[in-house]
């Protein structure tokens, strides 16, 4: 077993000292910072040239209200603190309604095409009335840029407020009373009530419950990502060793099982190092913001434990693929089914979160390839799961992982000296059985 350590140490140091590790280490925070900066830049790059909108107000009473709101908005809401334009001003002009609706719409459309105006709105005669009339209740916005929704959104709010008030008036209903009568209810989703140290009754806060879920959920995603990174890394390392002709010397010195184990531990340790550094960074930031209490430490430990086993499990499968092929491109068809196995938990995660103790969730978490993600996610969802389940999951996964490493070792020895066309899954299964 001493040799496992020798391989582990070399693998770990070779990777941690490599440039790509440093790049990965810096990349993630850099990407995050970069995306914030890009968003800011994009925010400032909004098209702020004025929108000229023609309004055909067939009610005859709405245009003034629209015009007034637009002027107010142009005066107050389209510049930032430094006085720069961050939103487009809306210039609304009234167009007298004509009887031939179709002809007028055609004429206005032509003006949009000629860039004379940006768009036009046609408001039906019955909009302000409390009695519905399907033929005259329309408000239509015509433009050649359907994805530019800024004006439409604004107009919707302005018109709705105005129109509803007018309908109340017409029906002789006191607006304040009606609004009070139809106010919506909001159901608060709370945890159970407990008693604090001073004997006072204390309610669980909604925000706490949400973070208690979101944080571990984020962790399990981090775990998924690191498996997705470390697995192919393992595969690539082994293919490189085959291509650089190192593998035969290694097999002459160390049993394949030990070699695989050492390499897997190395790759896994590299990923764990990376995750720990990120987590430490995240914890530091959380502490600066005074939110460190929200990080549930016991679940971080579970997450790291399950993450390590998941990386070994999938690492060995990817490693076996690497051992079976002689070039990375030959590996693609073999990687596909493994990837499906890997993302399987993602497919079922929504029903599992909704019923963390249902039969699907239960059985999926004892299907070894899905165990890590399932267990960590289910533990994160209140009220959690019985403690025996995550504990029982560990020997199960270790057993499965040991089998994977053993199988990968056999494939490595047989596949090592194979040349020519890449093997099929059936061939690989034969290698595992026969040795």
């Amino acid at each position: 077993m001493n040799k496992v350590l020798v391989v582990f140490k070399r693998e770990y140091l070779a990777q941690v000292r490599s440039k790509s590790f440093l790049i990965t280490l810096v990349m993630m925070p850099l990407l995050m910072a970069g995306s914030i900066i890009v968003q800011k830049l994009v925010g400032e790059g909004v098209d702020t040239k004025e929108r000229r909108i023609a309004v055909v107000d067939r009610t005859g009473v709405l245009f003034d209200a629209i015009k007034q709101s637009a002027d107010e908005r142009n005066a107050t809401a389209i510049t930032n603190k430094e006085g720069r334009h961050i939103r487009p001003p809306f210039i609304v002009t009234s167009v007298a309604p004509k009887v031939d609706i179709a002809a007028q719409q055609l004429e206005l459309s032509q003006r949009v095409r000629n860039k004379d105006i940006s768009a036009f709105v046609d408001i039906g005669t019955n909009v302000t009335r409390s009695e519905p009339d399907a033929d005259a209740d329309f408000v239509r916005y015509y433009s050649d840029s359907p994805t530019d929704r800024e004006f439409i959104r604004w107009l919707n709010v302005v018109l709705s407020q105005r129109v509803i008030a007018m309908r109340f008036d017409e029906a002789k209903l006191p607006a304040g009373v009606v609004q009070g009568a139809i106010r919506p209810i909001d159901i608060a989703n709370l945890g159970l009530v407990s008693v604090d140290a001073e004997g006072k009754v204390k309610e669980a806060e909604e925000a706490d419950r949400l973070t208690a879920f979101i944080v571990p959920y984020g962790f399990s995603m981090l775990m998924f990502m690191s498996v997705l990174v470390s697995g192919p890394q393992m595969m690539q390392n082994i293919v490189e060793e085959k291509m650089q002709r190192i593998a035969e010397v290694l097999v002459g010195s160390i049993p394949p099982f030990q070699l695989m184990l050492g390499k897997l531990l190395g790759v896994t340790a590299v990923s764990l190092t990376l995750i720990s550094l990120y987590l430490a960074g995240g914890y530091f930031v959380a502490q600066k913001m005074g939110k460190a209490d929200l990080v549930p430490m016991s679940q971080v430990v579970w997450m790291l434990l399950y993450g390590a086993i998941a990386m070994i499990m999938f690492g060995s499968i990817f490693g076996a693929i690497g051992a079976a092929v002689s070039e990375i491109k030959d590996a693609q068809s073999l990687v596909m089914p493994v990837t499906i196995l890997l993302v399987l938990p993602i497919f079922v995660i929504v029903p599992v979160i909704q019923a963390p103790n249902g039969p699907l969730a239960f059985w999926m978490s004892f299907f070894p390839p899905a165990t890590p993600m399932m267990m960590v996610t289910r533990m994160a969802v209140p009220p959690g799961i019985p403690m025996w389940q995550p504990i029982a999951g560990i020997p199960l996964m270790l057993l499965f992982a040991t089998f994977c490493v053993f199988a990968a070792g056999r494939v490595f020895r047989v596949g090592l000296l194979m040349q020519g066309k890449p093997p099929k899954i059936g061939d690989i299964a034969k290698w595992v059985l026969r040795g």
């Binding site: 070779a14 060793e241 190192i246 010397v249 002459g252 160390i254 030990q258």
Partner: protein, 299 residues
């Protein structure tokens, strides 16, 4: 005790039989040369001794044990296809290989070998900066740095210039002096003649020669005669001669079974002037070509 004992070993890959019913004994402390044309089964035999391949049938013992794993700390191995971690420093690579063989304090041994092969200045350079010849010498050091009792070298001389070839030959001889058993395969017949206590030739998966150089030469007898004649043309119609080769400055003939050299001399002397007549032992090169040559020419 014998370092390696193989008996009745057969190994097939699909329909191709790479090695057929092979038996071989490599005594401890000897230098054993494996020769044979490309694709005749040398590397397969070596990989079976290393337990990288398992034989289909037959028995292989190394130091009396039928070990089940390739990883034996007692064997140092230089594969035919060689490679080193390109990004690692020479010193680190060698330390890694030594430790993999369970040799945990290899510092002094590495320094000594690098000095002997004239590579001391390169100890802290990365492998990717080495020339091909240097990398090959480093690979050799990797195979022997853990002081293995048995050293197996697959084509150790290929691609080396004459100077480095001598350096490596001396190194192999010194391994023997220090008590190691050495098996190496080669296409360099003169190296095999000079260095090997015993020579083993495999051809089409079967053993065709096995023994000391002298015993092999005895088997092939004193049937080769070197001549210098005024008119080499008269050799062509000579009775009792199997094979004639005209090198220009001299000629070589091989006698048929039971043909007397003395009688041939008198026949030739009657036809032309003879300025050289020498009964020679066939070189290993000649024996190799005699076994494999006709087939190679035919194909």
């Amino acid at each position: 005790m014998n370092a390696v004992e193989m008996s009745g070993v057969t190994k097939s890959f699909g329909a191709v039989t790479a090695v057929r019913d092979l038996s071989l004994v490599v005594p401890t402390g000897s230098v054993y040369g494996f020769i044979g044309p490309n694709g005749s089964g040398k590397t397969t035999t070596i990989r079976m001794i290393m337990r990288i391949f398992y034989p289909d049938s037959g028995d292989i013992r190394v130091f009396g044990e039928t070990h089940s794993q390739a990883a034996t700390d007692r064997i140092g191995y230089l594969p035919e296809e060689r490679g080193l971690y390109k990004k690692m420093k020479v010193q680190d690579v060698l330390t890694f290989y030594a430790k993999l063989k369970g040799f945990n304090q290899p510092g002094a041994e590495i320094d000594a070998w690098l000095a002997r092969l004239g590579l001391s200045d390169w100890a802290n350079k990365r492998v990717e900066t080495l020339s091909k010849g240097m990398a090959q010498k480093i690979q050799f050091v990797a195979a022997v740095v853990s002081r293995p009792e048995l050293v197996i070298l697959d084509e150790p001389f290929s691609g080396l210039d004459p100077v480095n070839l001598d350096v490596l030959r001396d190194a192999i001889v010194s391994l023997k002096r220090d008590g190691s058993t050495v098996i190496f395969s080669t296409h360099d017949m003169s190296a095999a003649e000079k260095m090997c206590d015993q020579i083993f030739m495999i051809y089409r998966g079967e053993k065709v020669l096995d023994g000391t150089l002298a015993s092999i030469q005895d088997t092939y007898g004193a049937d080769t005669i070197r001549l210098r004649l005024e008119d080499a043309g008269c050799l062509s119609s000579l009775q009792g001669v199997d094979h004639v080769k005209d090198f220009g400055a001299y000629q070589e003939i091989r006698l048929g079974d039971g043909v007397d050299a003395q009688r041939i001399l008198s026949t030739i002397a009657a036809r032309t002037r003879v300025s050289l007549f020498e009964v020679a032992r066939p070189s290993l090169h000649d024996i190799f070509v005699r076994i494999a040559g006709t087939e190679a020419q035919a194909s």
